[in-house]
């Protein structure tokens, strides 16, 4: 893990200049890391980068407004930073961005699915990520899962594995893939009727913990979300699917033209509800209509906060 070591060097160099460096450190088990806030050189030893470094470090940036922080970012994380900058929610001079070539992160759901015949991921006695595979020891037996099989979907279609902008970069830039919105295409093989049922069923598991919202680096409302407000009173607190789905639609619409597709909403969902799909649908619409992908340019205004007098791409209904 040469990149990880190089990153550590960069972090060490930056520590004196910033309040803290946000990256990843050991989690409660070896499969998935935790966000890690480094302030002292000895803390940098435990820094991790790799398939276990799932969390989006950009999430924490607005909390540190007024302080200088450095951030280790995957490509997707850097897009969140760019979008936050585009919306002037953070100040450029307050963040130092450390990029590296991201080879993709592991999807805990996929790991669980692959391990299912043997047990669940939490039963792993040992887990070691290699260059191309994850080696898990369970009940004394070693299982090898190729990384390609357990990589998060967002990584398989990631066009920007390197930070879209950075102040420091460790390692050689990696090549990206094309995003063809295959996830949506898969959903769209279903009939409209089935899609409706799909959401009805998926959302029924929602426990309204709002991890999806709170894990979203671009959710600006934070403590003032309409999910629980009474004025405006969009949602009831009842345990019904309609409120739950309406919340997801709300989150998605609030992110239309802003979502960078980091997928944290979906990863955070304890019930495994594919909530990213709705945001993806809007991203595809915005890309198609306005040629805009969020989080690539810290200077661009989100397309729904502007307009053109003549909208060439909008085909209005001819009555």
């Amino acid at each position: 893990m040469a990149v990880q070591e190089e990153l550590k060097k960069i972090i060490l160099g930056l520590l004196p200049q910033v309040d803290c460096v946000i990256g990843w450190g050991p989690g409660p088990d070896l499969l998935c890391a935790s966000p890690y806030f480094m302030r002292r050189p000895e803390e940098v030893d435990n820094f991790l980068a790799g398939p276990m470094a799932t969390q989006n470090t950009a999430l924490y940036l607005p909390e540190y407004k007024g302080k200088k922080v450095a951030l280790v970012v995957k490509g997707c994380d850097s897009r969140s930073v760019a979008q936050l900058l585009a919306e002037k929610l953070i100040a450029r001079e307050e963040v130092r961005i450390i990029g590296f070539p991201c080879a993709g992160v592991a999807d805990m759901g996929k790991i669980a699915a692959r391990l299912a015949p043997h047990g669940e991921p939490g039963e792993a006695e040992k887990a070691v990520y290699g260059e191309k595979e994850l080696r898990i020891t369970m009940a004394g037996r070693e299982l090898v899962l190729p990384l390609a099989e357990i990589k998060a979907d967002k990584c398989l279609r990631c066009a920007h594995p390197n930070a879209v902008f950075s102040d420091h970069f460790a390692g050689e830039k990696a090549a990206g893939n094309d995003d063809e919105f295959k996830d949506l295409a898969a959903l769209e093989t279903m009939s409209l009727e089935d899609r409706f049922s799909f959401w009805e069923k998926e959302m029924s598991r929602c426990v309204r913990c709002y991890a999806c919202r709170n894990a979203c680096p671009l959710c600006v409302c934070r403590d003032h979300c309409v999910a629980s407000s009474r004025d405006p009173h969009w949602l009831t607190q009842a345990d019904g699917v309609s409120d739950k789905l309406l919340f997801q639609v709300t989150h998605a619409l609030h992110l239309a033209g802003r979502c960078t597709g980091c997928g944290e909403c979906q990863r955070a969902c304890p019930a495994g509800i594919p909530v990213l799909l709705l945001k993806r649908a809007l991203s595809r619409a915005v890309e198609g209509l306005f040629g805009h992908s969020a989080g690539l340019d810290p200077e661009t205004r989100p397309p729904l906060l502007t307009f053109q007098v003549e909208e060439r791409t909008i085909k209005e209904k001819a009555w």
Binding site: S229, H233, H254, L305
Partner: protein
Amino acid sequence: MKIGVFICHCGSNIAATVDVKKVAETAGRMAEVVYATDAMYACSEPGQQAIEEAVKKYALSGVVVASCSPRMHEATFRRTVERAGLNRYMFEMANIREHVSWIGRDQGPNTVKAIELVRMAVEKLRLNRALIPRKLPATRRALVIGGGVAGIQASLDCAEAGLEVVLVEREPSIGGKMSKLDKTFPTVDCSSCILGPRMVDVAQHERITLYAYSEIESVSGYVGNFEVVIRKKAAYVDWDKCTGCGLCIEKCPSKKNFDRFNEGLGSAAAINIPFPQAIPKKAVIRAEDCRQFQGKKCGICAKFCPTGAINHEQQDELVTIQVGAIVAATGYDLADWTVYGEYGAGRYADVITSLQYERMLSASGPFGGHIKRPSNGEEPKSVVFIQCVASRDPSIGRPYCSGFCCMYTAKQAIMTRDHIPDSQSYVFYMDIRSPGKGYDEFTRRAQEEYGAQYVRGRVSQVYPRGNKLVVRGADTLLGSQVEVEADLVVLAVGGEGSREAAGLAEKLRISYDSFGFFLEGHPKLKPVETNTAGVFLAGSCQGLKDIPFSVSQGSAAAAKTLALLSRDMLESDPQTAQVDIKRCIGCGKCIQVCPFQAIREADLRGQSKAEVLEAVCQGCGLCNATCPQGAIQLSHFTDNQVLAEVEALLCP
């Protein structure tokens, strides 16, 4: 809350297809409704009386009237409930006439629909809050932008009524298009004879401050309290010293410049006074024409100026003024007629515009009032007028009728015969539009008394033959091709909004259409108002007009301005956006989208928050729909109020 509901029969207008009694009976069981009844004519005197009495008798705190469109009678009933002691916003209307009884024939569905519309109104009313208009002090001064005839009229009317007026004109002289005209239809009186004295009045009026050769730099503030920055363009002549003697013009060595006032017919010196009656009569140096500015040694004007007014170092000057109201009277520009390749597209010297023709006819014009062919200076004997150039022509994106061309063409045909008695005029026209007082008679005189030959049809081509021009077109009445040999072709070019209108509209935060015309508040009922409070329109900037109409509008805009500023304090419409400071996180999205710059960032104990300038807010609610957490809410149309209406429909 205690709600009273009144269902109007509107005679049989509603009652014929809606079971009014049943609607009232059902309404009586709706949330917080304690009194529901029907009324023959709710808007009538007894109808309103009944509402007032019920409010008092049942201690109602809100009223719903189900009758016609709120666009019709909302204001009426608001006054009614106000008389009864309620706040006027504790009132809602259900439109069961235009939206129910008049568009559906069956009583069954109509009644159900009426009941639901009433329920929606009740549910919304439950969330209404008393709104109190804010009182704002007003600056008793008006700004008039544009010194054409409409602007002059507006300025004089306001000033006469005692208001201070600031008149801003972008050209060196006021007078506008009218000052370029020779005569005016249908009376054929001399344009400068009637306009001139008005211009002088402007110059001499103690309450009018004129900024000529100036433009609007920026506008901020709101009704009653606008702050306007005016850019006084550098004339390179100290106007305080300039006496308008004209010596500099005479001595200026750079004389072959485009003469703007004369539409390029003659030529002008680099230092110039546009026309003898100019107000103010002050010289202006055009830097692009001036040798001194071209880096050549000159400065002759400075040498000769008897008062030492020339100042090549002069800079633009910014002046900030406070005004309470603004009248935009920026007029029009001729549409681009050079798009017509078939008319020579500006290549033939003897194809001119009607406005150039006016300058030709004018005794103070470049030709001294003699009609001459620009190509050779000969007197034309055959003059062809082509109407509807850049008017009524969707193919070039000008679908509208410019309105005044038929009349001025008739006038020009008459003047042609007047000037050259042996001349023959031909007018190619599509339709003759002459609906003003004495107008149609005038066009007939042109034909009958002055022998102008009117040919109904479009001209397909103008091309030179020898030193003449051949005008080929169709005579649609005869159904044949016609060809006329002309010495001079005059194009009756239509108008469009001033080219600078769009930029000004954005500064004034008013709407404009794709032709550059400003949008009035209501096509019928608010013809001189705009949707920005305190900004009024006069003259052709709103749509093309002839002189009498422009003058009327100037007076109308003045009347509106005077009515507005007759009070020391103004009331602002309280249906504005409100920020819930506790919920605002200062993301600034509302600020980005507000079309009126009515929201600004404010600091609240170190936190950034949105702040609405209530007097600027026009109540569109765009911010409300933009704010993700709904921290900014449009009063009277809050999310909860709209949701209550939706809910009322989905949970019947």
